[in-house]
C-alpha cells in the first residue's frame, strides 16, 4: 500500500476553516491532522509533508491580521518551520493563513490590509494563474474561479515591488477584476522555491461542482470543483516525490 502524504493544519484560537480544509485535503488523498497551536512544539512538523494555515480570524485579528498567530507560531515552533521548508516541505496559507505566512516572512514582502471598500466581501472571484509548474496550481486551467471572503485581503508591497514579483514569477494568482485594491491585482503569492503558496481565495469552499453558484456550471465535467484540483495538484506532487524516494 502506498504511503499517503501527510498534511498538518495548525489551528489557532479563532481559526475557523479547519474542518472544511481538512476535508478537502482528505478528499485529495492526504492524511490530514488538525493540531491546535497550544499542543504544537518544535517536533510536530517532522512527520508532515505539507503544513497548512487555514482561514479564519486567528485571535480575532483584532491587531493586524495574522500578527498574533505569527508570534505564537514562532514561540511554539521556533525555527522548525523554516527547517521544514528548507528540507523540502510544502507550506500553504489560505486567507488568514496567507496573512500569517506573510507575517512569518515566508512569502515576498508586503502586507494584507483592509479592502479599498473598507468592507468585508464574500463573493466569487475570477482568477488568473500567472505561473506554470507551481506544484499547487499545475492541475488548474489558466483562468478559473474561487470564492473569496475577507476584510483584509488587499495585498500591498513596497513601491514597485508588486511588478517586480510578477516579473520574477512570484505572483501565483491574480484577480481578473479589481475586487479589493490589491497591487497588480495580486490574489496569491509563491516564494522563490514554489513550495510556499499563500492565497486569499478559498479553494476548500469549491471542493465539489455543486458549490458553484451557477447550477449549470460544469467545469471539467467531473463532480469536482476547481478547489479540489488545487489540493489534488499538491497531493500528486508530494505523492510522486514519496514514490520517487521509495526503494
Amino acid at each position: 500500500m502506498e504511503e499517503r502524504p501527510k498534511a498538518l493544519l495548525l489551528k489557532f484560537p479563532g481559526t475557523n476553516c479547519d474542518s472544511e480544509t481538512a476535508r478537502a485535503l482528505e478528499a485529495a488523498g492526504f492524511v490530514a491532522e488538525v493540531l491546535p497551536i497550544s499542543r504544537a512544539n518544535e517536533t510536530v512538523l517532522e512527520a508532515a509533508h505539507l503544513v497548512v494555515f487555514s482561514g479564519g480570524f486567528s485571535y480575532g485579528d483584532y491587531v493586524m491580521a495574522g500578527r498574533l498567530a505569527q508570534l505564537e507560531a514562532e514561540r511554539k515552533l521556533g525555527d522548525s518551520l523554516m527547517r521544514f521548508r528548507d528540507n523540502g516541505g510544502y507550506l500553504l496559507g489560505i486567507c488568514n493563513g496567507f496573512q500569517i505566512l506573510t507575517k512569518l516572512g515566508f512569502l515576498p514582502r508586503g502586507s494584507l490590509i483592509n479592502n479599498t471598500s473598507g468592507r468585508f466581501i464574500c463573493r466569487w472571484a475570477g482568477l488568473k494563474r500567472e505561473v506554470s509548474g507551481n506544484p499547487f496550481l499545475k492541475g488548474l486551467p489558466e483562468s478559473f474561479e474561487l470564492p473569496v471572503a475577507h476584510a483584509e485581503g488587499r495585498f500591498i508591497a513596497p513601491d514597485g515591488d508588486a511588478q517586480d514579483y510578477l516579473g520574477r514569477g512570484l505572483v501565483a494568482l491574480t484577480y481578473t477584476s479589481d475586487i479589493n485594491g490589491s497591487s497588480s491585482a495580486i490574489a496569491g503569492l509563491a516564494d522563490e522555491t514554489g513550495r510556499v503558496l499563500g492565497l486569499m481565495p478559498h479553494p476548500e469552499r469549491f471542493l465539489w461542482a455543486s458549490n458553484h453558484y451557477d447550477p449549470d456550471w460544469r467545469g471539467d465535467g467531473s463532480e469536482w470543483g476547481w478547489g479540489y484540483m488545487m489540493f489534488k495538484s499538491i497531493h500528486d506532487t508530494i505523492a510522486a516525490e514519496i514514490a520517487g524516494h521509495s526503494p
Binding site: P13, N16, C17, F120, W124
Partner: protein
C-alpha cells in the same frame, strides 16, 4: 432603600424586608430594584417567604425570582388567560402558546411519528435529518439592546443564539445562521424623529449589520438567510432577529440532569456587563433607556465563544457531557435554575472567574456576560475536560455540584446567599388579560390604476421592500464551512435572489433548507390573514428550494408593542389563530419560538408601537443534492408556468403602499389547496422536471419574473391572459398582486405533459417562455404588449435600491 456603590460592596448580599410591606410598598420595592414584577407577583413572593420559608428573602433570591418570572424568560403573556372578542365572537383563551402552538404541534406530531425529535423543552427544536443525525433551529430577538447600542446589541444577539445551539441537546454544531431586521426607512429626515437620543435608522442598520457580521464571520458560521423590512413604525423600536441552525447525532439530543455531578463553567468571565438584561427587555423603551440601561447591553467577544464552541463540540464527541446549557438571559441563575432547581445542588459564586473585583452576589449570579456555557459532568471526566480546555485555550472552572436535595443553594464566601426550593415556590401567577379585534372590510383596487407600468415595476424593484440586499449579504461570510449549496445570491450571474438557502451536512446525503417570511404590512389590516400567509410564504420558499413539504418544521417569533393595550393584544391573538390554522393544514409543526413584548417607545407625542410582527422561519429537509433548485432562469427556449391562483385583492401589497393606498382587502389563502400544489411541485422537482422555481411574493408576478430573469440567461415573454385567476383581476393586480401560494417555474417543453398530470388545471398553466431573441421582460394581454422592459435596466434599479444607504 439606597443603592450601594457598585465598586465597594459593604457585603456580598442583603436581606430585604418584605414581610410587613403593604401592596404599594411591594410595588415601590419592585420599581426601585428594577425587578419588573407586578404587585400581584410581589404578593405571591411575600406569601412564599412568610408561609414556606418563614424568613425574609435575600436580594439574590428576589433578583433570581424576578429573572425567572420575567416576561423574557417565562412568556407570561403567551401563558395568560385572555378574554378575547374578535371576528369569531367572544371567547376565553387559556394560553396562546398552549392553544395555538403547542397543541397544534402535538396533533401534527401524532400524524408524523419520528419526525420531531424535540420541541419546546430544550434550547432549540429538533427534527430528524436521517437515521443518525438531527437538525435544530433557534431564532431569538435582541430588540432593545440593538435600539440603544446597535453594534453590540446585534453582535451579542447572534452570539447568544449560537450559544443556544451549542447548548441544545448535549451540544449541537452550529451550521448556518439567519438574520432578520425591521428598521425605520433609511431615508427618513432626522427632524421627523420625535424623541431625543433615538438613533437614526441608518445608524441602526449599519451598526446592526456590522454586529452580526463580526460575530458570525469570526465564529465561522455562514449567515445564509435573512430579510430586511423598512417601515416608519420601526424607527423608535427596531427589531433584530438572529437565528442559528445546528446538527447533532440523534443519540446526543436527550440529556437528563441527576445528582452527584460536577457543575463547570466554560468560556468567558463574569462581569457587570449585561446586568438585568432579561428584565430590561421586558419593559418599554424611552429616552431614559438610552442613558440608564446601557449596563443591560453586553459586550461580545466572538473568539472567546469560538474557543468555547471548539471545546464543547469535542467534549460532546468524546461522550464527556451529561448536561449542558448556555448562560443567556439571567446568566448563572437561569443556567443553574435549569440544571439544579429539580435535583438540587450547590453553586459557589466565589469560584466564578470575574472580569472585575468587588462584584456582589446577585451581580455574579445574574450577570449576562457573554460567551459562557455551563455543563454538568461526571467528576471522573474532569481531567480529560481540563486537558481539552487547555487545548482550546478556554477557561474551565468547577463552580459547584448537583445533589439530591431538590434545593438550589448558592454560596458566596462561605455564606448561603440564596436558597430556593422550587417545589414550594409556585409558578408566577397566571395573568388575566383581555383583548379585542375588529376586522374592517377592505376594498380592492381603488386608486391603483396606472399608465406607466414599466415605471411602476422599476419603482417596485428599487423599493426597500424588494430591492437587492446584496450590500448586506456580501458583508456576511455565507460560504464558510464550505457547505452552502444554494446561496442567498446565485444563478448564472451569481447575484440573483433566491428564496431559501440550502446547506449540505457532513456525514449525510440529505441537506437542510432554511427559509423565512414576515408580512407586517398585511397585519396592519388583517393579522389573521398575515399569520396564515406568513406560514404559507415560509413553506413555499422551502419547497421551491427543494425541501420535501412533508418534512418541514417551523419556528414562530412574535414582536408586539404594548400587550396591555387590548387592541394590540387582539392583533396578536388573531395572528396566532392564523399561523395555527395554516400550520395545521400544512402539517408543519412549530418546534421552537420566542416572543418579545413592550416594543414601543414613549415619545413626547405619545407611545409609538411597532406593528404586530410575526416572523415564521423554517427548516426543511432536502432529500437529495439533485433536488436543490434555484430561482434563476437557466436558458432560452424553456417554458414558464405558474402554480397557484391569482386574484384581485391588493391589500398589504407593496404596490398599494407605494401608491399610498392603505386598508385594502388582503388576498385570501386556501392552505389545503396550497399544500396539494406544494406536494406537486416537490414531486416535479424530485423527478427532475423543474429547471428553476421562484415564489411569487412582494411585488407580485412582475417582480418575481424580473428577479428570475436577473441571471440574464434569456428574455422572458409572459401572456397575462394565460394566468390562472379568480375574480377577474385587473392588469395591475395580475402584475403586482400578492396572492399567496403561487410559484413561477421554468421547465423544458418535454417535461410539460408529466407536470400537467401533477396539478389541478385551475392551479397550473403555462404562461410564457424564455427567449434567446432578446433580453427583455415582456408581458402581453390580448396580444398587446402591456409591459416591456430591458432586464439589464430593471436589474440595475433592483441592485441600487439599498446601495446608496449602506
Amino acid at each position: 432603600m439606597t443603592v450601594m456603590s457598585p465598586d465597594q460592596p459593604a457585603e456580598n448580599f442583603r436581606r430585604i424586608e418584605i414581610r410587613d410591606l403593604e401592596p404599594e410598598g411591594l410595588g415601590k420595592l419592585s420599581e426601585d430594584m428594577k425587578l419588573s414584577l407586578s404587585i400581584e407577583d410581589m404578593i405571591e413572593i411575600q406569601l412564599y417567604y412568610a408561609s414556606e420559608m418563614r424568613r425574609e428573602p435575600t436580594d439574590v433570591e428576589l433578583e433570581c425570582i424576578a429573572q425567572t418570572w420575567s416576561e423574557h424568560c417565562k412568556h407570561r403573556i403567551f401563558g395568560a388567560r385572555i378574554e378575547h372578542c374578535g371576528p369569531d365572537g367572544e371567547e376565553v383563551i387559556n394560553g396562546l402558546f398552549k392553544t395555538y402552538i403547542k397543541e397544534v404541534t402535538e396533533r401534527i406530531m401524532e400524524t408524523k411519528p419520528g419526525f420531531v425529535l424535540g420541541c419546546f423543552v430544550d434550547n432549540a427544536g429538533f427534527i430528524k435529518l436521517d437515521d443518525n443525525q438531527a437538525v435544530c433551529l433557534k431564532v431569538e430577538t435582541h430588540n432593545h439592546p440593538s435600539a440603544i447600542e446597535p453594534y453590540a446589541g446585534a453582535n451579542t444577539g447572534l452570539g447568544g443564539v449560537i450559544r443556544d445551539i451549542l447548548g441544545a441537546g448535549k451540544g449541537a454544531k452550529p451550521i448556518a445562521s439567519c438574520d432578520i431586521f425591521c428598521f425605520g426607512p433609511p431615508d427618513i429626515d432626522s427632524g421627523d424623529i420625535q424623541a431625543d437620543d433615538v438613533i437614526h435608522p441608518l445608524g441602526i442598520m449599519r451598526g446592526v449589520v456590522r454586529g452580526v457580521r463580526d460575530y458570525g464571520n469570526r465564529m465561522g458560521i455562514p449567515t445564509i438567510s435573512g430579510a430586511v423590512q423598512f417601515d416608519p413604525s420601526y424607527i423608535y423600536n427596531p427589531l433584530v432577529f438572529c437565528g442559528t441552525a445546528g446538527v447533532i447525532p440523534i443519540d446526543d439530543i436527550d440529556k437528563q440532569m441527576r445528582g452527584g455531578l460536577k457543575i463547570i463553567a466554560v468560556g468567558g468571565r463574569t462581569g457587570r456587563d449585561g446586568l438585568k438584561g432579561a428584565t430590561f427587555s421586558s419593559m418599554a423603551l424611552d429616552t431614559d433607556s438610552h442613558e440608564a440601561d446601557q449596563q443591560a447591553v453586553q459586550i461580545g467577544n466572538p473568539i472567546e465563544e469560538k474557543k468555547a464552541a471548539d471545546f464543547v463540540l469535542d467534549a460532546r464527541r468524546g461522550g464527556l457531557v451529561v448536561f449542558i446549557t448556555d448562560c443567556g438571559a439571567g446568566g448563572f441563575s437561569s443556567a443553574a435554575g435549569e440544571m439544579l432547581s429539580e435535583v438540587g445542588g450547590n453553586l459557589y459564586l466565589d469560584r466564578a472567574p470575574l472580569k472585575e473585583p468587588g462584584m456582589t452576589s446577585w451581580e455574579i449570579f445574574l450577570s449576562e456576560s457573554q460567551e459562557r456555557m455551563v455543563l454538568a459532568v461526571e467528576e471522573s471526566a474532569l481531567p480529560e475536560l481540563r486537558e481539552l480546555a487547555e487545548t482550546y485555550e478556554t477557561e474551565l472552572t468547577d463552580i459547584g455540584e448537583s445533589d439530591h436535595s431538590g434545593i438550589l443553594k448558592v454560596w458566596h464566601d462561605g455564606e448561603l446567599v440564596c436558597e430556593l426550593d422550587n417545589s414550594r415556590l409556585h409558578d408566577a401567577p397566571v395573568r388575566q388579560m383581555s383583548s379585542e379585534f375588529v376586522l374592517e372590510s377592505g376594498s380592492p383596487g381603488e386608486g391603483l390604476d396606472c399608465a406607466d407600468l414599466v415605471g411602476e415595476l422599476g419603482a417596485l424593484l428599487s423599493d426597500f421592500a424588494v430591492c437587492s440586499r446584496e450590500p448586506i449579504i456580501r458583508e456576511y461570510d455565507h460560504e464558510v464551512q464550505g457547505n452552502t449549496v444554494l446561496k442567498p445570491l446565485a444563478g448564472a450571474s451569481g447575484d440573483a435572489p433566491q428564496d431559501a438557502s440550502v446547506v449540505r451536512i457532513d456525514g449525510s446525503d440529505q441537506l437542510m433548507a432554511m427559509g423565512l417570511a414576515l408580512l407586517p404590512e398585511w397585519g396592519k389590516s388583517d393579522p389573521r390573514a398575515m399569520g396564515r400567509a406568513t406560514v404559507d410564504e415560509c413553506m413555499r420558499s422551502l419547497v421551491v428550494a427543494g425541501a420535501n413539504p412533508d418534512r418541514i418544521a417551523l419556528l414562530d417569533n412574535f414582536c408586539v408593542g404594548n400587550p396591555d393595550n387590548s387592541r394590540e393584544l387582539g392583533m396578536l391573538v388573531e395572528t396566532c389563530k392564523g399561523i395555527a390554522e395554516a400550520a395545521e393544514a400544512y402539517g408543519a409543526p412549530f418546534v421552537s419560538g420566542k416572543d418579545s413584548f413592550y416594543n414601543y417607545f414613549e415619545t413626547e407625542q405619545g407611545a409609538v408601537s411597532i406593528p404586530t410582527t410575526c416572523l415564521i422561519s423554517g427548516m426543511g429537509i432536502v432529500e437529495e443534492q439533485s433536488h436543490v433548485t434555484g430561482a434563476s432562469i437557466r436558458k432560452p427556449g424553456s417554458l414558464l408556468a405558474v402554480v397557484g391562483c391569482s386574484g384581485p385583492d391588493m391589500g398589504g401589497s407593496v404596490y398599494a403602499r407605494i401608491k399610498g393606498v392603505f386598508g385594502g382587502q388582503v388576498p385570501h389563502l386556501e392552505p389545503v389547496a396550497a399544500m396539494n400544489s406544494y406536494r406537486g411541485v416537490h414531486q416535479a422537482i424530485s423527478r427532475g422536471l423543474i429547471l428553476a422555481a421562484h415564489d411569487i411574493s412582494e411585488g407580485g408576478l412582475a417582480v418575481a419574473a424580473a428577479e428570475m430573469g436577473f441571471s440574464l440567461q434569456a428574455g422572458l415573454e409572459i401572456d397575462l391572459d394565460a394566468l390562472p385567476a379568480k375574480g377577474s383581476p385587473e392588469v395591475v393586480a395580475r402584475l403586482f398582486g400578492e396572492a399567496p401560494s403561487r410559484i413561477l417555474i421554468e421547465l423544458d417543453e418535454a417535461s410539460l405533459s408529466q407536470l400537467e398530470e401533477l396539478f389541478n388545471k385551475t392551479d397550473f398553466a403555462v404562461i410564457g417562455s424564455t427567449s434567446s431573441d432578446h433580453s427583455r421582460l415582456r408581458f402581453t394581454e390580448r396580444g398587446e404588449s402591456v409591459l416591456d422592459a430591458e432586464l439589464v435596466a430593471l436589474k440595475e434599479q433592483w441592485k441600487n435600491g439599498l446601495k446608496h444607504y449602506y
